[in-house]
Point group: D2
Chain length 138, copies 4
């Protein structure tokens, strides 16, 4: 269930990051511990074969994981993230679905799935990742 | 010692990736098993506090690791990469120094250090990472 | 649904590894792409505070991931694994639940959850992990 | 340069962990930010082919990284570790060389190299890893 206050809060942080605006990241949904982020394909996001650059795969995973953590712990800083490239990231859009696995006082752990969406709306899992975030004391 | 043929080859691949051109990645040096990549700061690369976005930290690490692998194994595909954010990534430029740790027939493992450069040319280690790449059969 | 042929096959590999026998790893269930591994607590498995040693957390995650891959691809070799320690690993038994996320021709990716079981049979997620395995050509 | 007080302190922690005693981990050297750990091969440490079990590779990496962190920050807890298996871990002994990359107030990051030693004393890099540790407040 989408939490509209949370969604507005996450969307505000998203809009405040210049890279997110350049990339066209859009916060599609947010609830406590879970955020979905979407990016439409654009040519400037490509690697040498024209697939989504692994750097942007990582950016989507890191950002979605950070936003999921934000729903549980307020402002956070990325400490670590990892990315598994499962299949060529080709699509009209990319959707990162992030979930908090454990929210401690000092650290938040998340898992993220990244899907490619084709022109018919079909989705394929193309990458997975993990993020570890540090809480930022009040 | 810079290998000028290798440098030209890596620079050509770098120039063929639209994201690398947008980000302004520049291949500074290349030798067998080692590549240095540089990116000048620009506002569109920032996260919400105006530091370099962790996604771009990852993009620099993934790209530099892939280029180091390329010097040993030709075209490769990223399988996995991870990023440790050690300190706020603030600087005039960012330099990723990637080294091949092990080049097998099917997999290449690299380690990458990412430095921030200040206006006086001083460098600080702000992130580290690892990449695993799959060789692409001829 | 447990596949009894697969279970027997995985249990045979498990019994062939001396460390697994020492640790007391038991294959509880196996189906295509999913394996559950169990280990009863014993004092020799402890770190300095008497919790399960992170090395054994990793061993359970690596082993369960490898067995899940084996159900899809036969013999495999660990290429990479990672471990997140979410909470102190204290319990009467530990259960690693591994799932194949992607089985390619050359690489298998898995995700693993590690639960601690208390004396009443209650379970708590204490660690998560990922494994990447290379297939071993016939 | 070995610091004998630090070495004694790390060796005491090592001796207090039952798993470390079972495995035969020995702290070979310790200085601020760097620890070397050694383990002689024994059959109970083997996987199904008789190589060192990836779980023990991870245990050596996690333990050496934790000890390196201890030299900088006192008692710590593992938050995350990762392991790259570069080559079959076959040898008479295994040596883990861990180095602190960054020691913050809350987190310590380390890098670890794992070498196999043959009967002639020759060393080969068989695995690498990273560990992230949380400091434990006084």
């Amino acid at each position: 269930m989408i939490d509209h206050d949370l969604l507005a809060r996450v969307a505000t942080v998203n809009a405040s990051a210049e890279f997110n605006r350049w990339a066209g990241f859009e916060v599609v949904s947010a609830e406590a511990g879970r955020v979905t982020l979407r990016m439409n394909w654009k040519a400037e996001a490509g690697q040498y074969s024209g697939f989504l650059h692994a750097g942007l795969i990582g950016a989507l995973i890191d950002t979605a994981g950070g936003f999921a953590a934000l729903t549980r712990a307020g402002m956070v800083l990325t400490s670590h993230f990892s990315v598994n490239c499962l299949a060529p990231a080709v699509g009209n859009a990319f959707i990162a679905d992030a979930q908090v696995i454990r929210a401690g006082k000092r650290q938040i752990f998340t898992r993220v799935d990244l899907f490619a969406e084709d022109s018919a709306g079909g989705r394929k899992l193309v990458a997975t990742g993990e993020t570890i975030l540090m809480t930022v004391g009040a």
